[in-house]
Symmetry: C2
Subunit: 315 residues, 2 copies
């Protein structure tokens, strides 16, 4: 396989684009494509202040690298979830993020859940029984809350995350297999801010396959954490990714087409916004003031209040 | 595994219903469920004249058997497509249908494509290049046309087909993976008649898994053709069925839930009928007078006219 641009040996073959590229041309292509997606989907401008959620994995660090190179101003936000049993997962991923920020001279904000709320994610899950044996739902609630809170507090224009196409397609697949129309209506690479206080959210990598973001991180020599979160084992999205990869290998481009044709159907107005949440459907949480669909206290404040009560009771 | 009703040895375990049944109770359950679906989805009444498309396979013969036992009046329609190279597929399946109708003393109409149009399905596909190496698209056009034509000519109230849940779910999956909204809008177990001349169409077995219709046919001793059409090898729907069965085995009920939640989303009005075809979008074919979305001649008449011209040219 030869590079389509220069004829030298290709390091990657992207079957869905029928495109093989050498190292240099792949890095160039990847960077240009990111810029193209940012513009095409009107994600942000050069003067915008971007908050980028970084986990220490390949996607978010690659995204930080690319948008920094493209000349955008993005500060990083690392949320220390305290997932440290067995593998020191949080500890090690935080190190990767810190090193990257330090080497590139980028501003990094660290939000430490244990410092903020007095307990770690696994503890909260255990004490509140939310998620039973898995803390994934507590973790999701917490990350969404903290990202929004810090983005607003820091007066950022937009919150960016490193989700790639495989992530997005797995979620889309899960929502479709159950026809969860509420979620389908809300799934989009650009979510506008809401008057009640949700920050604008964008996913500049949503059209890249996972292996492309991995290739970018690898070829740039970015030092990232390779393991998945230890709680992700057996997650439905991982299973859906396997199914989709199986289909992709039979029909290259299937994943991209699945997602893009979904966006097209939405743009063309085929989904009726019957139950989409509107600003007036949201309340402001009595405790933290962030928007919530709950009547009084948001899920985040409820979860962590219960955790603190339960934790102090067993002391 | 024991029968849930009587405690004797179960012959089938339907994991999606957590229901194991012995032979007698399964046959009873299957028959009662069919009656329930017919009523719930308002498919037809006892006084209606039903035309049932029978292929000689397990589904359509099982359906004929069940609705006959339930006391409905259904005549059979067998379409002889002339697919006889190698395996005499059409010949053998027609024999099964004829024997069944004879044994049960049921009225059978046979439509012979070669007699009607002067060529077989494989010839038409070859001469018109529609479908290139596969005649499936020609076959689909032809069957739909002939079923509608004969149902109207015979003044039937409704056309029934033996499609089971696996069939429906595979089509739904294929339409969803490409977000073909036009097809998604039209997919339903009951399609009302249209003023321009489409007969009402129903699928009473749409909630049964394929293995259930097979079990019914087997346990009733129905003699049906076991092979798939020789042209079906490698068809996308067969591949989708495999994928869905893989997921079903991990999560029993996934297939049923996928289809029922889709119907629910439609009923709740989540799909905007932007491009659904309305009566005024249809013309009447200049040649046969049946409704068509084409401006002058319908796809059926075009295909078979071309076939006759091509066939006579090489004689």
């Amino acid at each position: 396989m030869k590079c389509k641009k220069c004829g030298s040996k290709a390091v990657i073959n992207m079957r869905q684009h029928k495109l093989g590229l050498c190292c240099d041309h792949f890095l160039q292509w990847f960077t240009n494509q990111t810029q193209r997606f940012i513009k095409k989907y009107k994600m942000f401008e050069f003067q915008d202040r971007i908050l980028l959620a970084v986990s220490g994995g390949k996607d978010s660090l690659a995204l930080w690298d690319v948008i920094h190179r493209l000349g955008y101003k993005a500060d990083g936000l690392y949320i220390n979830l305290g997932i440290n049993h067995d593998t020191s997962y949080s500890q090690r991923s935080m190190e990767k993020v810190k090193n990257f920020a330090h080497d590139q001279d980028l501003k990094l904000i660290i939000a430490d859940i244990e410092e903020m709320e007095g307990a770690s994610i696994p503890e909260a899950a255990r004490f509140t029984l939310r998620g039973k044996d898995k803390p994934c739902s507590t973790c999701g609630i917490t990350k969404r809350h903290v990202m929004n809170h810090i983005a607003r507090q820091g007066e950022y224009d937009v919150l960016a995350t490193g989700h790639n196409l495989d992530d997005e397609v797995a979620v889309l697949f899960g929502n479709t297999i159950n026809w969860q129309m509420g979620y389908l209506l809300r799934q989009h690479p650009v979510l506008e801010s809401s008057p009640k206080g949700f920050i604008r959210k964008v996913k500049p990598f949503f059209r890249f396959y996972e292996r492309e973001t991995a290739a970018y991180a690898f070829l740039r020599g970015i030092d990232y954490i390779h393991d998945e979160c230890p709680f992700a084992v057996g997650a439905k999205t991982i299973y859906y990714k396997e199914m989709l990869n199986q289909m992709e290998s039979k029909r290259p481009g299937l994943k991209l087409n699945f997602y893009l044709s979904f966006l097209r159907a939405k743009e063309e107005g085929y989904f009726a916004e019957l139950r989409a949440m509107h600003a007036e459907d949201f309340n402001l949480c009595e405790t933290c003031g962030q928007p919530t669909s709950a009547p009084k206290q948001c899920a985040y404040c409820r979860t962590w209040e219960r955790t603190r009560i339960a934790k102090s009771a067993i002391k």
